[in-house]
C-alpha cells in the first residue's frame, strides 16, 4: 500500500482556461469528480428547498397570515418536498457513495464510469425539468406555476380534471428522469462493491459504509421501479386516455397510493441507510474503538432492507383498508423497530468505554443518535394504527419525518461533510466555525421540530396554508418558525466554512483523524487513479493493522 502519488497530466497543469476546466468537469467519468458534482448540485437545491421552507414557515407564523396566496403555498410545499427528497438528499448521498465507495473498497473507479456520468446528468436534468415548470407549465403567460399536488401527488388531484396546464407533467417527468439516474447509480454501486473489492477484502471485511450502501442500492432498484411505473401510468392517464387513476371512469385512487408508498417507504431507508453508513464510520474513529458487533450490524441492515419492503401501507392507515390489512402493517412496521434499535445499541456500545473526541463530525453524530432515537419512538407511535388515525396527516407526522430527514439524515450528512472534507479538498476546515454551525443548527432544529409535534396533537392537519385562531396552535407555530431562522443561519455558517476552508484552510494531510479505512491511505485529495498500488487488506481496519503491527485486527475478527 503506497501513499506516493504518480504525476497525472491533468493535475499538474498549472493554469488552464475556464473553458478547459468546465469541459473537464462536464465530460468527467471520474467517480470523485462525479461525486463532487452530485454534492455541489445537491447543495444548490438545498438552498432552493430551504428558501421554500422559509416561505412556508413565514406564512404559518400566525393564524390568517397572508404572506403568500394559497396557490403559492401549495406550490411551495410540493416543491419543497420533491426538491428535498429527490434533488437534495438522494443526490448528496449518491455523491458521497460515489466518492467514497471505490476508495473504501480499494478500487480505482466505479465499475461503470460512463454509466456513472450518465446517471448524474439524468438526475441533474430531472432537477432542471422540475424547476423549468416555473416558466414551462403554463407558458410565460402563467409563469410561476409550479406543481401543486403535494410530493406524493395523490390521485385524482393529478388528473387533467383537477390539474390543468403542465405543472403536474413537469413533476412526473422530473421524477421519471431522475429515477433512471438513481437506478443507474444503484446498479453501479452494487457492481462496484460486488466486483471491485481489493485483494483480501471479503464481504465480511468491507467497511460498514459499503455494506449499508450495498443494501441501499438494492432498495433503490426495488423501490424506484414502481415509482417509475406509476409515473408512466399517470402520463398515460393524462395524455393517452388511460384510466388507471381516473376515479370517474372506474379507476382507483387507492392504487396510486399503493404504488407511491411501495416506493415511498423503502425510499426512507434509501435515505437513512447512507446516514447510518456515515455514523458507522465516524463514531468508531472518534471513539477510538472498532464498530461494536459488526456482523450484527450487517444483519440488521439486511433485515431492515427486507422488512422495509413490507411496510408501505402504514402510510395508508386512514384509507380504509380494513382491520386485517391494518393489523398486518402494524406488525411489519413495528418489527422494523427491532433491527433499527439494535443499530442504535451497537453505536452506543461502540462509544462505551472509548475515548470520545468531540470534533464537529462527532458532535453531529451524537446529536443524530439522540434525534434518531426520538424519531424512531415517534415512528413506533405512528405504527400503532389507531394512534395513527389521530396523528396521520397532522403536524405530528410532519415533525416525525423531519426528525428523520433533518435530525438523522441531514445531521449525519453534516458530520460526513466535516469528516471527509479534508480528504476531498486536502484542506482542514475551521473547527470553531464548525462548532458554531453545529450549535446554531442544533438549537434551530429543536426549536422547529420539537415544537412542531404539539400542534399535530392538537388537531392541526398538514398542508394547510392558514389556520383558525383559537385552536391553541398559534404559539407553537410561532416558535417553529423562529427555529427556522437559526437553521438557516447554521447553513450559511456551514457554507462559509466550506468555501473559506477550501481557499484558506491549512493542508490536511492524508490521514488527519488517525482513521482506519482505505481512503485515508491515499493522498488528500486522492489522485485520479486513487491508489498507486491496489492495496491488500487482512481485516476491516487495514490502517489499524498498519499502525499497530503488534496488535492487528485480523487476529481477533
Amino acid at each position: 500500500m503506497s501513499t506516493e502519488s504518480i504525476p497525472w497530466p491533468s493535475a499538474t497543469a498549472g493554469s488552464r482556461s475556464f473553458v478547459d476546466t468546465l469541459h473537464e468537469w462536464v465530460t468527467t467519468v471520474d467517480h470523485k469528480r462525479l461525486g463532487l458534482l452530485y454534492i455541489a448540485y445537491a447543495l444548490v437545491f438545498l438552498l432552493i428547498g430551504g428558501i421554500e421552507a422559509i416561505v412556508i414557515r413565514i406564512q404559518l407564523i400566525r393564524p390568517h397570515n397572508d404572506f403568500v396566496s394559497p396557490q403559492v403555498f401549495n406550490r411551495m410545499f410540493t416543491m419543497h418536498g420533491t426538491t428535498m427528497i429527490f434533488f437534495v438528499v438522494m443526490p448528496v448521498l449518491f455523491g458521497f457513495a460515489n466518492y467514497l465507495i471505490p476508495l473504501m473498497v480499494g478500487a480505482r473507479d466505479m465499475a461503470f464510469p460512463r454509466l456513472n456520468a450518465f446517471s448524474f446528468w439524468m438526475t441533474a436534468f430531472g432537477g432542471l425539468v422540475l424547476y423549468f415548470s416555473l416558466i414551462g407549465a403554463n407558458g410565460l403567460y402563467g409563469a410561476g406555476n409550479a406543481p401543486d399536488v403535494g410530493w406524493f401527488a395523490y390521485a385524482p388531484l393529478t388528473s387533467q380534471t383537477f390539474s390543468l396546464g403542465h405543472s403536474t407533467d413537469f413533476w412526473t417527468l422530473a421524477l421519471l428522469v431522475s429515477g433512471f439516474g438513481s437506478v443507474g447509480t444503484a446498479i453501479n454501486i452494487i457492481a462496484t462493491i460486488v466486483c471491485l473489492r481489493c485483494p483480501g477484502m471479503t464481504l465480511a471485511k468491507m467497511p460498514l459504509f459499503a455494506w449499508l450502501n450495498l443494501v441501499m442500492a438494492g432498495l433503490v432498484i426495488l423501490a424506484v421501479s414502481p415509482l417509475t411505473a406509476a409515473q408512466i401510468m399517470l402520463l398515460v392517464d393524462r395524455y393517452l386516455g388511460g384510466h388507471f387513476f381516473d376515479t370517474q371512469a372506474g379507476g382507483s385512487a387507492v392504487i396510486w397510493m399503493h404504488f407511491f408508498w411501495i416506493f415511498g417507504h423503502p425510499e426512507v431507508y434509501v435515505l437513512v441507510l447512507p446516514a447510518f453508513a456515515f455514523a458507522s464510520e465516524i463514531i468508531p474513529v472518534f471513539s477510538r474503538k472498532p464498530i461494536f458487533g459488526y456482523p450484527v450490524m450487517v444483519g440488521a441492515t439486511v433485515a431492515i432492507g427486507f422488512i422495509s419492503m413490507s411496510v408501505w401501507a402504514h402510510h395508508m392507515f386512514t384509507v380504509g383498508m380494513g382491520a386485517a390489512a391494518n393489523t398486518f402493517f402494524v406488525i411489519s412496521t413495528m418489527a422494523i423497530a427491532v433491527p433499527t434499535g439494535i443499530k442504535i445499541f451497537n453505536w452506543l456500545a461502540t462509544m462505551w468505554g472509548g475515548k470520545l473526541e468531540f470534533k464537529t463530525a462527532m458532535l453531529f453524530c451524537v446529536a443524530f443518535l439522540f434525534q434518531f432515537l426520538v424519531a424512531g419512538l415517534t415512528g413506533v407511535m405512528l405504527s400503532a394504527a389507531p394512534f395513527n388515525w389521530q396523528l396521520g396527516n397532522s403536524y405530528f407526522v410532519v415533525a416525525h419525518f423531519h426528525y428523520v430527514i433533518v435530525g438523522a439524515i441531514l445531521f449525519t450528512l453534516f458530520g460526513a461533510f466535516y469528516y471527509w472534507f479534508p480528504k476531498m479538498s486536502g484542506k482542514m476546515y475551521s473547527e470553531t466555525v464548525g462548532k458554531l454551525h453545529f450549535w446554531l443548527f442544533f438549537i434551530g432544529f429543536h426549536l422547529t421540530f420539537d415544537f412542531m409535534h404539539i400542534p399535530g396533537l392538537l388537531g392541526m392537519p398538514r398542508r394547510i396554508y392558514t389556520y383558525e385562531p383559537g385552536r391553541g396552535w398559534d404559539t407553537w407555530n410561532l416558535i417553529v418558525t423562529i427555529g427556522v431562522f437559526f437553521q438557516a443561519a447554521g447553513i450559511l455558517v456551514f457554507l462559509v466554512n466550506l468555501l473559506w476552508s477550501y481557499y484558506r484552510g491549512k493542508p490536511a494531510g492524508s490521514d488527519p483523524w488517525d482513521a482506519w479505512t482505505l481512503e485515508w491511505s491515499t493522498n488528500s485529495p486522492p489522485p485520479a487513479y486513487n491508489f498507486a498500488l491496489i492495496p491488500t487488506v487482512e481485516s476491516r481496519r487495514p490502517l489499524w493493522d498498519l499502525k499497530h503491527p503488534d496488535d492487528p485486527d485480523w487476529k481477533y475478527e
Binding site: S287, T378, E468, Y556
Partner: protein
C-alpha cells in the same frame, strides 16, 4: 390587510338558535383549555379507545427513551477524552453475542406487547357490529365543503353535521358513510374519532357516539386542492329531543317568498341554480351546498364565516375575498340585486 380584515369572519362563540320549535339551547362548548381539537380530550368511544392505546404506547416509548437517553448521556459524559489523556488507544472491543442477544430479545418482546394492544383496539373500532338504532349519515367530500345526507330521515344539509348525543342509557351511535365527489378528503374531528379518508370510488365508513352535548370542531385532513385549509368541520351533538326537532325542521319546505320574491327571481334566473338546491323551488343543482335551510346554519363557506347577512352578501359578491380558490364564482350582481338576493337567502329557514 386581509389578515386583519379576515378576522371578522371568525369568532363563532355566540349561542345559537337550534331550531324553531324547540326552546333555544345554548350549546356549551365544553372545550379543553388547550384546544378544541385536542386528541387527548376525547368525547366519543372511538376517540377514547384510541386515547387509551395512545397512553400505553406513550408510556412504553417514554420508558425506552429514558433508558436509552440516559445511556447516551452517560457515555458522552463518562467516556469523553480527558485533557490529561495518555494518548493510548482504549481497549478494542469487537462485540459480544450475549449483549446482542439481550438487546434483540427485549425489543422483540416490547414489540409483541405493543402489537397485541394495538390489534385489540383496531378490532374494537373497526369490527364493531352495527346497532339497530344507529343514525346513518352519508358524508360527501367536495372541493371545498361537506355534504351530509341522512337517507333514513330525508335530510340534506351541508358543512354542519347534526347528531344526537349517545349516553349509556340510550346509546345512539352515528354511522357515517364517507364518499367523495371529486378528490381525496379526510374526515377528522379529533375529539370524536380518528380520521378516515373520503376517496372517490372507494366508499369508507366510520362511527361516532358522542357522550356530551356540544359543538365539535375539525377539518379536512387530506390535501384536496387550493382551499384544503378552509374545509372546516363542525359537528353539533344535540340531545335526542333537540336532534329530532332539528330533523323535523329540516324536512319541512323552507319558508321563502314575500318581500324577498325579487331575490328569489334573481336566484332562479341566474347561475345560482346550476349548483344549489332549494327544495320546492326551481333550484335543484347538486354541485354546491343545499340551501333549503341555509338560515338554520351558523356558518357559511364550510365553517369559514359566520352566517350573517353581511357575510352572505360579501360571499355572493366575491367568494375569493373570503376563500380564494373556492369554486363558487363571483356573481357580478348590482348592489340592488345583491340586497334582494341576500334578503331571499335570509328567508330560507
Amino acid at each position: 390587510m386581509q389578515s386583519r380584515g379576515s378576522n371578522r369572519w371568525h369568532g363563532l362563540r355566540s349561542p345559537i338558535l337550534l331550531c324553531v320549535c324547540c326552546s333555544t339551547t345554548a350549546v356549551a362548548d365544553r372545550v379543553s383549555p388547550l384546544s378544541p381539537t385536542n386528541i387527548f380530550a376525547p368525547a366519543s368511544t372511538p376517540a377514547k379507545s384510541i386515547l387509551g392505546l395512545s397512553l400505553f404506547v406513550l408510556a412504553v416509548t417514554g420508558a425506552i427513551f429514558l433508558v436509552v437517553f440516559t445511556l447516551l448521556l452517560y457515555s458522552v459524559v463518562k467516556f469523553r477524552k480527558r485533557k490529561n489523556d495518555d494518548g493510548r488507544e482504549p481497549p478494542q472491543v469487537y462485540g459480544s453475542n450475549q449483549v446482542e442477544l439481550a438487546w434483540t430479545v427485549i425489543p422483540v418482546l416490547i414489540v409483541v406487547a405493543l402489537f397485541m394492544a394495538t390489534a385489540r383496539v383496531i378490532a374494537s373500532v373497526q369490527k364493531t357490529a352495527r346497532p339497530e338504532n344507529a343514525i346513518e349519515v352519508i358524508a360527501i367530500g367536495h372541493q371545498f365543503w361537506w355534504e351530509y345526507r341522512y337517507p333514513g330521515l330525508g335530510v340534506v344539509t351541508a358543512n354542519e353535521l347534526h347528531v344526537p348525543v349517545s349516553d349509556t342509557n340510550n346509546p345512539t351511535p352515528t354511522l357515517i358513510t364517507l364518499l367523495s365527489a371529486d378528490t381525496d378528503h379526510s374526515f377528522w374531528v379529533p375529539r370524536l374519532a380518528g380520521k378516515t379518508d373520503l376517496i372517490p370510488n372507494h366508499p369508507n365508513s366510520m362511527w361516532i357516539d358522542p357522550h356530551e352535548i356540544g359543538v365539535y370542531l375539525g377539518q379536512c385532513a387530506q390535501y384536496c386542492g387550493t382551499q384544503h385549509a378552509k374545509m372546516l368541520l363542525r359537528v353539533y351533538v344535540q340531545s335526542r329531543e333537540d336532534f329530532d326537532c332539528w330533523v323535523q325542521q329540516q324536512t319541512l319546505p323552507s319558508k321563502g317568498g314575500g318581500r324577498a320574491s325579487a331575490g328569489q327571481h334573481i336566484f332562479e334566473t341566474t347561475a345560482c341554480i346550476s349548483c344549489h338546491t332549494v327544495a320546492g323551488s326551481a333550484a335543484n343543482g347538486r354541485f354546491g351546498p343545499d340551501l333549503t335551510h341555509l338560515m338554520s346554519r351558523d356558518t357559511i363557506a364550510a365553517g369559514v364565516a359566520t352566517n350573517t347577512p353581511e357575510h352572505l352578501r360579501q360571499w355572493i359578491q366575491n367568494p375569493d375575498a373570503i376563500k380564494p380558490g373556492s369554486l363558487m364564482p363571483a356573481m357580478q350582481l348590482s348592489d340592488q340585486e345583491l340586497d334582494a338576493l341576500t334578503a331571499y337567502l335570509e328567508t330560507l329557514h
